[in-house]
Symmetry: C2
Subunit: 183 residues, 2 copies
DNA sequence: AGGATCATGTAAATCGTTACATGATTAA
DNA sequence: TTAATCATGTAACGATTTACATGATCCT
């Protein structure tokens, strides 16, 4: 039940159309919450029906016409309520870890190449986050919003750092391992 | 499409009944792939229908009767194929990070208590993983399977370490922040 | 005999992904 | 004028979650 609140957050930050939201969910928002345009349009419809957002006035609702939304007071209240409410952390679900556990019983053939590919992907992501940090959070300027957003970006940086280190360690292990046998 | 392969991995490690699998998905398997008993029973049915697993012979299929499964050769082949195939890493989706981003626009009231609660939960999880590491992976003994399983556990330990550190930093930020205003 | 727990399922709702459909705008 | 792209959707399916249902076994 987080997608509607991700959209509310994005719209409070800046009223947007469905496609603009989609773009933002591929960039900054997407660093901690991803969504496709199909999810976004469906959810925009629901949020509007519930009276939490509304289309900006002065726009005809024709298909193919741009339609921007803004958050209504009820939407802001709901977002504040959700943000303050306790939520349990979700258990981890990671395919690569599962594949390594599987490799322990069916053999390691083929996994190493994908470990290397993942390492490259995470290194690229890490470099992108660090560029954003340098650009958007220079030392000194620190409003409360800035510090919170910087904190979120730090989580992304630290997580990508973890993955690059762990994948490096995994590849080092593979180098020492015997062949591809099922054990 | 990873749940069937998580179940195959578990069953290759040791043939089990649905409830036994459920218990294992609350313990070791669950450290990187969680599943409820409803998912597990449904998937066991599918895997059996596809001829990848079978009920251990010599058991009547009555309701409420324990029924154990083992992996057939076709199941082991499918698991090896899936393990070797490339998979893209899934984008991050984390509720706490989203809530902090939301807090930047609707105010931080109430979040701090849950940050503290999460910190405790992650500290407990980290302690549990470290106890397992001490118990199951003493230095010296290192078969190929052991090294791979240890690697997976290390990921869990490092991830929990990241969270405890990041949550600590977040709480330190909150201590320096002004009141609960929407910015 | 009765209740707790073990064990296996069913049903319904929501969420997420993939594929497809359709109108509007812009540029060759 | 036609092709590409912008923009908004629909449809279908699979995965996940929550709630409920039911038989078997064990203990008192």
């Amino acid at each position: 039940m987080s997608l509607p609140h991700a959209i509310l957050t994005a719209l409070v930050e800046k009223p947007s159309s469905g496609l603009e939201l989609t773009r933002r969910f591929d960039r900054s928002i997407g660093y901690f919450w991803s969504a496709t345009h199909q999810q976004i349009y469906r959810e925009l419809g629901r949020l509007e029906a519930e009276g939490l957002i509304r289309a900006l006035p002065g726009q005809q609702p024709a298909r193919g016409q741009k339609k921007s939304y803004e958050v209504l007071p009820a939407g802001r209240d709901e977002l504040a309520r959700w943000t303050a409410a306790p939520h349990d952390p979700k258990p981890l679900r990671d395919t690569m870890l599962l594949r390594l556990r599987a490799a322990a019983v069916v053999g390691t053939a083929g996994v190493e190449a994908d470990l290397r590919r993942h390492l490259e992907l995470h290194e690229r992501q890490l470099a992108e986050y660090e560029a954003i940090e340098k650009r958007d959070f220079p030392p000194g300027r620190d409003s409360a919003e800035d510090r919170l957003r910087h904190l979120v970006l730090r989580a992304g940086i630290d997580l990508e750092t973890f993955w690059t280190q762990w994948l490096g360690r995994a590849l080092a292990e593979f180098a020492e391992l015997p062949g591809d046998g099922p054990a």
